[in-house]
């Protein structure tokens, strides 16, 4: 497929799509680790359903990235044959599942961001991206509903569930600033009228998260020591291990088909 874009815009858009695709792929893989381990059967099914949506969305974003790049790489090449430093996902999404509260808090921070973010992106001027985004919103609304309900139940539940939820929120808070990361890639795409500038995004997210955490009787962390790096390929120690497991089959048996 050919798109009429100049080279700078094309490579900026490619990079931007990698961010979106990598976010979904890494989160989807993390969630899939719950398969067979969740506390109850319904939850096992729920988490793996969310994982499946994420991997499906990743596939759509990476397929589009590969088409734009037009160098003969496929979505699978992008997913399985890149190294850690070439992955552009958010640090938040590569964090370990740790325990159920931790997994739910990670999902809550991301899905509450996603519900606003993808509504903006569905209005972008690059039609294939707008299309995938409009699909993503519907699925995200289910993910958010699910983890929001769990945040409320865990936070306002037993002493133990409350403490675990609070600990997860405190620990993951330092990765939330990166949700709003922007650099020259975003600026170019905004300038070219492909993306819309979504400045109020952070405030909308913050208001929503505060509302739910307060309802869940959880404290909003005051931590100002925010961590970023994922968008530059600088990751926490967890991503390499995840990639090793996710990529070993594709790398050991190149072009394997079944």
């Amino acid at each position: 497929m050919s798109y009429k874009l100049n080279n700078d815009v094309r490579s900026a858009l490619f990079e931007y799509l990698l961010r979106l695709g990598d976010d979904k792929l890494i989160l989807g893989h993390r969630l899939s680790e719950w398969c067979g381990h969740a506390p109850i059967l319904e939850e096992d099914i729920a988490l793996t359903n969310i994982a499946l949506d994420c991997v499906g969305q990743a596939s759509a974003f990476l397929t589009l990235a590969a088409e734009l790049e037009n160098k003969g790489r496929s979505e699978d090449d992008l997913a399985y044959l890149r190294n850690e430093i070439q992955f552009k996902n958010l640090l938040l999404l590569e964090q370990l599942n740790k325990d159920f509260a931790y997994t739910i808090a990670r999902q809550f921070f991301y899905s509450s961001f996603g519900i606003y973010f993808f509504q903006d992106l569905a209005k972008c001027k690059f039609e294939p991206l707008a299309g995938i985004s409009s699909k993503t919103i519907k699925e995200t609304s289910y993910h958010l509903r699910h983890c929001k309900e769990w945040m409320l139940r865990l936070g306002d539940g037993t002493e133990e569930s409350h403490n675990k939820a609070q600990e997860a929120v405190n620990d993951l808070w330092r990765f939330t600033e990166e949700l709003f990361f922007k650099n020259e890639i975003d600026e170019l795409l905004i300038q070219e009228n492909i993306l819309i500038d979504s400045n109020p995004l952070k405030q909308k997210w913050r208001d929503y998260v505060e509302e739910i955490l307060t309802q869940a009787t959880l404290q909003i962390p005051q931590n100002e020591n925010m961590q970023i790096g994922g968008r530059h390929g600088i990751h926490t120690e967890h991503l390499g291990h995840l990639l090793a497991e996710m990529q070993i089959l594709a790398r050991s048996y190149p072009n394997a088909k079944w």
Binding site: A46, N49, D53, C54, S134, K135
Partner: protein, 175 residues
């Protein structure tokens, strides 16, 4: 079906209208809901020619739906076996698939098969909680049911339980 298609140069379809192509595709059923074909599901979005190649556009119900790959293969199989070798199946995402496209007839087929059909119009306010009105049991038609989980055996269905006939059942989510 073979009568509908005239062949030329071994692989080129001619005087084939979109409706006839869609008609061929009604042979293909959704592997996870074997009472609905992919045309009435709204999965097939368009069929047209581009430089003598037949393009069939499909849209996923859910991004990660594993049935899509099977459906793509089956579309190619059906077109091949009807003499069309030059066919490409393309995935399109906009407009996003919605249960609003299902006709009353389609919803009835779901209900008769034992899956509670989607009700009403898909919610446009994505932050709003889902309508918690209980879903009618497809077996005994009772309204006394409860939601077990938003996520079921496939991405498109949620799990419910009927308090009247004491049966679990599935509901096709309204999206």
């Amino acid at each position: 079906m073979q009568d509908h298609i005239q062949m030329q140069n071994g692989n080129k379809l001619m005087v084939e209208t979109k409706n006839e192509i869609l008609n061929l595709l009604t042979e293909i059923y959704d592997p996870e809901i074997p009472v609905l074909n992919i045309v009435e599901m709204g999965i097939v979005r368009d069929a047209f020619y581009e430089n003598e190649k037949l393009i069939i556009e499909i849209t996923p119900t859910y991004s990660g739906c594993p049935a899509m790959k099977v459906i793509e293969d089956e579309i190619r199989d059906v077109m091949y076996s009807n003499g069309c070798k030059n066919v490409e199946v393309k995935k399109v995402y906009a407009p996003a698939w919605t249960t609003d496209w299902m006709t009353v007839e389609t919803k009835n087929k779901l209900k008769n098969y034992g899956i509670a059909p989607p009700e009403g119009i898909a919610e446009k306010d994505f932050l709003k909680d889902q309508n918690e009105k209980s879903v009618e049991c497809p077996f005994c038609k009772s309204g006394k049911t409860k939601l077990t989980s938003h996520f079921g055996s496939t991405a498109c269905k949620s799990l419910h339980f009927c308090l009247e006939c004491i049966q679990p059942f599935e509901h096709f989510k309204c999206i």
